[in-house]
C-alpha cells in the first residue's frame, strides 16, 4: 500500500451556478486546476449537477480526478457540499433535490444557468431556481448524501451567509457531517473557539471558486492511496495512515517526490 499526497480543491462552481462566471466552462476549470497543481477537484453547483459529467469528460486526458457533486441549500438556507465518486450518485441526489426545489430562475436577478458540454457549448439553460432553498431540512440533506455514499461537508463555516454557524448558530448533535469547510484564512481553532461544537469535526479548506482565478487559491492536501471519497473519509477520520494536511501546501512536481511509504 502506497500513500501519496493529493492536492484537492473540493468546491468549484461552473457556469451552471447563477452566481458563477459564464467563463467557468469544463476545459477552463480543468486547465486551471492542472496549472495550479491540483490532483483532485470537486464540481459543486448550487442544487444541480448538470455540468458535472462535462467536467469529468474534460478531465479525461488529464492527470486530474474530478469528483462530481453539488452544493445543496437546506430549508434553513444552509449550504451543504455533497461529493461523490460517480456522476450517477450525484444524479440520484439531484433527483431528490429537484423534487424539493420550487420556483423558476430569473436570470436578470440571479444570473444565467448555462448547461454546457465538455467543449463549453451551451446545451440549454436550466430554468429552476437554483439560487433558492430546497424544502429539505439540513438533516434530510446530509442523510440523503450519506445514504448515497457521498461526503457531506458543511460549506464555508467561516462565512456568515449560508454557513451553518451563521444560519443556525450551532451544529445539530446527530448531524452526520464528514467535515466542515473553511474558505478564508480562518484557522480551525478560531472557529472552534467561537463555536465549540465545531471542534468535533475535521476541517478542509477549499476555494468555493465562482471565477477562474479563484480555482486552487485555497486547497487541502490529503494523504491517500487513491483519490476516492472512501479514502478521503479515512483521511478525515485519521484512519490507516491517511491524513489531512490543511492549508495551502504546494506539492512537489514529480510523482516520486509525492510518494510516501505507508
Amino acid at each position: 500500500m502506497t500513500l501519496a499526497l493529493f492536492k484537492a480543491d473540493l468546491h468549484i462552481h461552473t457556469c451552471l451556478s447563477p452566481c458563477a462566471d459564464l467563463s467557468m466552462g469544463p476545459r477552463t476549470i480543468v486547465d486551471k486546476a492542472a496549472w495550479e497543481g491540483l490532483d483532485v477537484i470537486g464540481v459543486s453547483d448550487h442544487n444541480s449537477c448538470e455540468n458535472a459529467l462535462a467536467v469529468v469528460q474534460a478531465a479525461r486526458q488529464k492527470n486530474l480526478r474530478v469528483l462530481p457533486g453539488m452544493e445543496v441549500t437546506s430549508r434553513e438556507e444552509v449550504h451543504i457540499l455533497a461529493i461523490f465518486d460517480h456522476v450517477e450518485q450525484a444524479l440520484w441526489l439531484q433527483e431528490v433535490v429537484y423534487d424539493h426545489l420550487h420556483g423558476e430562475n430569473d436570470a436578470e436577478a440571479f444570473g444565467l444557468q448555462a448547461v454546457v458540454n465538455e467543449d463549453h457549448d451551451v446545451v440549454a439553460f436550466n430554468n429552476r431556481l437554483l439560487a433558492g432553498a430546497t424544502e429539505l431540512s439540513i438533516e434530510q440533506v446530509v442523510d440523503s448524501i450519506r445514504d448515497l455514499d457521498g461526503l457531506a461537508i458543511a460549506s464555508h463555516v467561516d462565512r456568515e451567509a449560508f454557513g451553518i454557524i451563521g444560519q443556525l448558530g450551532f451544529i445539530p448533535a446527530q448531524l452526520r457531517l464528514d467535515a466542515l469547510e473553511l474558505v478564508g484564512n480562518t484557522c480551525p481553532e478560531q472557529v472552534s473557539r467561537r463555536s465549540p461544537p465545531c471542534a468535533r469535526f475535521p476541517f478542509v479548506r477549499s476555494s468555493d471558486a465562482h471565477s477562474v482565478e479563484d480555482i486552487g487559491k485555497v486547497s487541502t492536501s490529503f494523504l491517500l492511496v487513491e483519490p476516492t471519497t472512501a479514502e478521503i473519509r479515512k483521511a478525515l477520520r485519521g484512519q490507516e495512515g491517511r491524513r489531512v494536511l490543511l492549508g495551502d501546501i504546494t506539492v512537489g512536481g514529480s510523482v516520486a517526490e509525492k510518494q510516501v511509504v505507508g
Binding site: C19, E76, E77, A109, F110, G132, A133, A161
Partner: protein, 114 residues
C-alpha cells in the same frame, strides 16, 4: 409614505440607491430567510433583515421591493452594494435591532401584509 420619509423619520443611513427614495411604501416585511421573503413579501414592501449578501439584492429586485433595511448597524457586502447600486435598490442602515426597528415602523403606520 415614501422610502425617503421613513429614512428621515427614523434616522436611517442611506447606504445606496438614493434615486429610489421617492417611492411609496406598500407595507413592511421582516425576515432573514430569502426563501420566505421570495414567497411572502409584496411589491413595494420595505424589507427588514440582517442578511447582507448579494442575493438580498437579487430577491429585492425580483420581488420589486421598495427598499432593504439592514439592522444592528450591519453593512452590506461589497458585492451586494455594487448590485444594489446597479439595480437602484435603496439600501438603508439602522443601528437598531430588528424588533425595535419594526416596532417603530409599525408605530409610524406601516403595516405588514397578511
Amino acid at each position: 409614505m415614501t422610502v425617503g420619509e421613513v429614512a428621515e423619520m427614523l434616522g436611517l443611513e442611506v447606504l445606496t440607491g438614493s434615486e429610489g427614495l421617492e417611492r411609496e411604501i406598500t407595507g413592511g416585511y421582516a425576515s432573514d430567510l430569502l426563501s420566505d421573503v421570495l414567497a411572502h413579501s409584496q411589491a413595494g414592501n420595505l424589507w427588514v433583515t440582517l442578511q447582507t449578501h448579494r442575493n438580498v439584492i437579487a430577491v429585492a429586485t425580483l420581488k420589486d421591493l421598495a427598499a432593504v433595511v439592514l439592522v444592528n448597524g450591519r453593512a452590506p457586502d461589497a458585492e451586494a452594494l455594487a448590485a444594489a447600486r446597479q439595480e437602484k435598490v435603496p439600501v438603508l442602515g439602522s443601528q437598531l435591532p430588528a424588533f425595535e426597528l419594526v416596532g417603530r415602523l409599525y408605530q409610524m403606520g406601516i403595516r405588514g401584509t397578511s
